[in-house]
Amino acid sequence: MTEPKVRPVDALSPASRAWGEIGPRSDQPRWGMVVDQERCIGCWSCAVICKSENDVPLGMWWNRILTEGDALDQPMVSEGGGLEMHWLPLACQHCENAPCVKVCPVQATYHRSDGIVMQDSDRCIGCRYCMIACPYGVRNFNWGAPVRPTPHETGMVTARPLGTVEKCTMCVQRLADDQIPSCVWSCPTGARIFGDHNDEDGRMATLIREREGTMLLEAAGTRPAVRYLPPRRRSPL
């Protein structure tokens, strides 16, 4: 399999480098992420930096924040009569049993050995079967020539061409440089924790175990590498 052409992370300031390093890991890491919905404030910082980091064209989002409420800006009335609102940051779940990998007719979407689901833009024929198969709706198609707000490319990745599918890569260009994904370091509340599922004593695995981390649409049997820590607070306003 061809890895995407990436340039090393060299534009980061030393400060963000310092706390963006990947921590301890096992011998054979299976990268993953846990999103603490209790900490998430729905600010969209991770969604915006993702667009910049990965040079995502206008109209597409690899990462977006869904609102668990009554509407986008409307809290719902909880069982106790109080108001409640949570956020569900959603990007590729990097499933172990990935439906997209199964259905791609040309093996353009595939697993790396560290469990990350990749998309080979040079091979993709643009049939969009992977988008059909994905239960999470996190894949984007380049319907037209990619449009960007500036004439400059952003981020450390090559742009994906017209007529191909693209999605979150867990910032493989940063992982290659031992840096955590941009959505993780940019989160102002530290709601995203990146780690290795095989490192059982690691912070991510411990959080998933102790806070009973959940899988999105678990019934679909996709076994995502991204987990969610449901909010515990139920304080009525």
Partner: protein
Amino acid sequence: MSAANPVVPSVPAIPAAGEATKHPSRRGLQVAWIVTLLALMAMGIGAFAYQYANGLVVTGMRNVVMWGQYILFFMFFVGLSAGGLIVASAGRLFGVKAFKPITRLAVLEATVAVILAATFILPDLGRPERVLNIPLYFNITSPMIWDIAIVMVYMAMSASYVWLYARADLARRGSWLALGTGTSERTMAREERAKGAMAWIALPAAILLHSITAWIFGLQISRGFWYSSIMAPMFIASALVSGLGLVILLALLLRRLGRLSFRDDLVALLGGLLGMFVVVEAFLILAEYLTALYPGAPEGAAAARMLSGPYLPLFLFEVVVGLGVPFLILAIRPLRRRPAWVALASAIGIVGIFVHRLNLVQNGLSFPNIELPPGLPVGVPQDGSSFAESYFYVPTAIEWMVVIGIIAGGALLFTAAVAYLPMQEPEAH
């Protein structure tokens, strides 16, 4: 009707190929027909070129409903093909001699329809020039690969089936297309055996073809409206309705043009069969909707949506017009015995199956699984929000032009085949 009685042609003589062209007014019509088809094809090619240059953004598809008109027509034509061949080969396999006059037509229709179906895949690809990646890097776990494989096998098989039926006439005419085979008694006996053997392959191949097409959809747990074991049987039932409907229409058309002769009895017989297929389709739809709706669980949301809002008229059309009306026409004996009514029922049935498939694609995709605001990014820059919580797909003029162009190509191929190949199957064995 008794199968032993020889079928008396209702037209006295079948003109040889090309004879009809001697009639001057008909000649003019033929030229006009061919020119129209060529013009429509040119329009389709132009629209495809425009789409290729600008991307699929010129279609009505977006990230939410990412499959549309092209896939819809792909599965519709696979159905037309499979349906026609299932009827023809089952007739041969089980010795239904009454079907004989339309066997050649059905086999030809199946061949042209499957070629069209395969063609519809190309404009759907974002990168059609990479189509060779399919044989180069094929992924055996992809139902799309299974389908492409069976389409290829089926296409070769139905084309050789057409040849087998035309072979003797071609040999008599001295055509090189007979591939050096003659019309000796021994060859004819061998041909008869080969036709019989072919039916054994064609029937399961046609059923497999449309089942695998159904599994492209039905195996996806991500789409609640599709993820059902009834998909393959329902696709077969749909194929039988639309495929037989088209064979009836084409047979009546060719009879009117003097290229084929059979008695009205056959139309009534095929009409009765079509009515039965309509009942099976309606039964499977009932079973599917009842199972989806009864628990009142989220899994049945898509089926429930079909019964309200903008989808209700489409659903009513599918069931009441598309199935109910043809059933009534075909179940009433005096109507069934009149070819014009059977033709009407066939045409409505075909449109009904098309709408059934449209509903399958549209409603299967319009709403994402995680129904939270702001929804899915549509994938193209647009005014206001770049997100959509649901999406109602409407094909654009470009998509229609490509579709009409491809169908015109198929009509041209069919016209050429009918003009060149004898359509009448000789009565004697």
